[in-house]
């Protein structure tokens, strides 16, 4: 059995099923209760599962994560929601110093089976503080897993895997894909393993690595390039930012001989840098073209006004141009 769903509904339904299946699972965050979350991801949850399991927290992200860590240390499986990824910064210390280090520092004695969900990304008129990418910060934190589903299918499978994972998982949901991206979601209880990247489109001439909203722009650009110029682009969905699946990326690059990486975060020191560096170190001699990065400009964040936001966001045209150029090299 399958159903066509968008990503918000998929996450809503998956969380609902997980709550039904295991009462160790509970949800905490700002406005997750009566309001059902500002994106309606937990709509109806409080009525169904009660205030004890669907906790409207005080406006304090550090304690949302810190309290969730405590719950995870005492037998529960908390799923914390940070209302916007931009507001996770006050919890940086609890995530980096505590969640990510508890197992390591206790030599394996303690673990923190916690999921922290955060809607991220731009192109939604959210301005400087409702548009940010944060995977560059958290991907660099050993002990923390960072996943970014880009399709409804992966959203369900990765969320189930994240809730079952014995370690802390930062689960990033791109806001613009929430309702924009629809797809088939199997009814059965499957998991998409945390770790493996996924080839979302097979190709021979060029490898394009991306995740989040940009993955869809890359698929759009790849289709256009196939159509118009007969160039076949392989599009790899990173899917798990950390730990990074180097093998899948390198296999694709070795096959096509050309690689580009696309991400919407500020370009410099962003996640794409590690991917490019990995390819350069491991597969440079398999390349017959330059390594190309398409990323957001190095400005503090995405401005509000339409023209400024549009200036910030990489789009399918820009990606198509870069692909075409690289293919022609």
């Amino acid at each position: 059995m399958m159903a066509e769903k968008n990503i918000v509904n998929t996450i809503h339904d998956t969380l609902w099923e997980e709550m039904k299946a295991d009462d160790r699972v509970l949800i905490l965050g700002e406005d997750v209760g009566a309001r059902g979350g500002v994106f309606r991801v937990t709509a109806g949850f409080m009525d169904e599962f009660g205030e004890q399991r669907v906790i409207d927290t005080p406006l304090a992200e550090s304690s949302i994560v810190g309290v969730a860590i405590g719950m995870a240390l005492h037998g529960l499986l908390p799923v914390a929601e940070i209302q916007f990824a931009d507001f996770i910064h006050p919890a940086f210390d609890q995530l980096v110093s505590e969640a990510a280090r508890l197992r390591y520092r206790s030599n394996g004695d303690f673990g923190v089976p916690m999921v922290v969900r955060a809607p991220w990304g731009g192109g939604v008129h959210g301005a400087l503080y409702h548009s940010q990418s944060i995977e560059g910060f958290y991907g660099h934190v050993p002990g923390l897993k960072v996943v970014i589903p880009s399709t409804p299918h992966d959203a369900k499978g990765l969320l189930r895997a994240a809730i079952r994972d014995p370690d802390p998982v930062l689960f990033l949901e791109h806001k613009k894909t929430y309702r924009l991206i629809k797809g088939e979601v199997p009814d059965d209880a499957y998991e998409v393993p945390i770790g493996p990247a996924d080839v979302k489109r097979e190709g021979q001439d060029l490898t394009c690595v991306a995740y989040g909203l940009m993955l869809h722009y890359c698929l759009e650009a790849a289709a256009k390039l196939q159509e118009e110029d007969g160039v076949s682009v392989e599009v790899v969905d990173v899917r798990t930012i950390a730990p990074l699946d180097r093998q899948t990326i390198l296999e694709s690059v070795r096959k096509t001989g050309k690689a580009m990486v696309v991400y919407e975060d500020n370009r410099t020191y962003g996640a794409g840098a590690e991917i490019v560096a990995t390819i350069a170190e491991e597969a440079m001699f398999d390349l017959d073209g330059p390594l190309v990065r398409v990323g957001g400009p190095d400005i503090p964040a995405m401005p509000f006004s339409g023209p400024l936001e549009h200036f910030y966001m990489p789009d399918a045209e820009e990606i198509h141009r870069a692909m075409k150029e690289l293919a022609a090299f």
Binding site: L59, A127, S305
Partner: protein, 338 residues
């Protein structure tokens, strides 16, 4: 007898408020209300993608901003504070340049969401979206004022939800230790978006926390502009005289959803909202002006009409103003060589 009544009725003179003060305070409250009505109209028309309402807070905002001295004291508001910023010197046109994200938006040149106020010229510190981050800035500014021997005061405004953030605690603690010239104003509207006060704190009067920082706190009726003014005036004078910080909590209510993106019917009954609107500070303050003979119903009507014309004109001017140049997105990451 009528004499006694008049005296009993006079609440402003004892506070040092002149009739001119009353007129200008009322004008500002009404202007804020009209800007709010206009921005929601624009939002419904699809001309303003996102707006942040002030309605319900105008009374306590104008009354708590009033005791500050423009050009000397510093305002550290949050997004809800349109009326605070009007007192500080912003105009309806400034408000709508922000709403439309235009190049001449004084707060951010269209970079930030509407209602993210700021202006060095007006002494309004640029605010962000993250809640409570501005409160430590107020403490730092107050430290600088004291360090430089200025006879100035800084005030920071925030909501009830903000009091839960670690930054809020750290800011008040620092201010208390150094007895800084700062006034912390909490606009307690009983909700942080949908989260009710009972889930925000284990107490019902947040002003209580001031004692834990070594200074005094006071909870006042936010719909009673005179009560707000009196508390704020005393706090500002005390701060200026080296008496240290004060936490003032104004019990108020937000008439509209949190923002144009919110649907408050999921967490507030209509009855509760209607009940609150019956205590509208704007109506109460207008009523007082009538009682003391400063205005009558016709006067209120014509004032509304006059100000509405101003606001409508501001909307049109702002709407017709230029958008930022796309390339300008690259500017001001760091200081530019001048």
């Amino acid at each position: 007898m009528s004499q006694r009544v008049k005296e009993a009725a006079d609440r402003h003179s004892p506070l040092g408020l002149t009739e001119d003060d009353l007129r200008r305070m009322y004008r500002t409250m009404v202007t804020a209300r009209l800007c709010d009505e206009a921005q929601f109209r624009l939002n419904r028309q699809g001309r303003a993608p996102f707006v942040v309402p002030v309605s319900g807070h105008e009374g306590c905002q104008v009354a708590t901003a009033w005791p500050l001295t423009r050009g000397k004291d510093i305002f550290v508001p949050y997004y809800r504070d349109m009326a605070v910023c009007l007192v500080a010197g912003m105009t309806p046109k400034d408000v709508f340049l922000g709403v439309f994200g235009k190049a001449d938006d004084p707060s951010s040149g269209g970079r930030q969401m509407p209602a993210h106020w700021g202006s060095r010229r007006l002494g309004i510190i640029s605010g962000s979206s993250p809640i409570a981050t501005q409160v430590p800035h107020a403490s730092g500014i107050a430290y600088a004022m004291k360090y430089r021997g200025e006879d100035a005061v800084v005030a920071s405004w925030f909501g009830d939800g903000a009091t839960s953030e670690g930054d809020w605690h750290e800011a008040l603690n620092f201010a208390g230790i150094h007895k800084l010239p700062v006034v912390f104003v909490c606009e307690n509207n009983l909700y942080a978006i949908s989260v009710p006060l009972s889930k925000q704190a284990g107490i019902s009067e947040l002003a209580l926390r001031a004692e834990g920082y070594g200074f005094s706190g006071q909870t006042v009726d936010g719909n009673d502009a005179f009560a707000c003014y009196e508390a704020m005036k005393a706090a500002v004078d005390r701060a200026r005289d080296g008496g240290g910080p004060t936490l003032i909590e104004c019990m108020t209510y937000r008439f509209h959803p949190h923002t144009s993106d919110d649907d408050d019917r999921t967490y507030r009954t209509r009855e509760e909202v209607e009940e609150a609107k019956r205590k509208d500070a704007l109506v109460i303050f207008g009523g007082y002006l009538k009682d003391v003979g400063l205005i009558d119903d016709d006067g209120i009507e014509s004032l509304r009409a006059e100000l509405k014309a101003e606001v409508d004109a501001a909307v049109d001017e702002a709407w017709n103003a230029a958008d930022p140049d796309p390339e300008s997105a690259l500017r001001h990451v760091f200081a530019e060589e001048s």
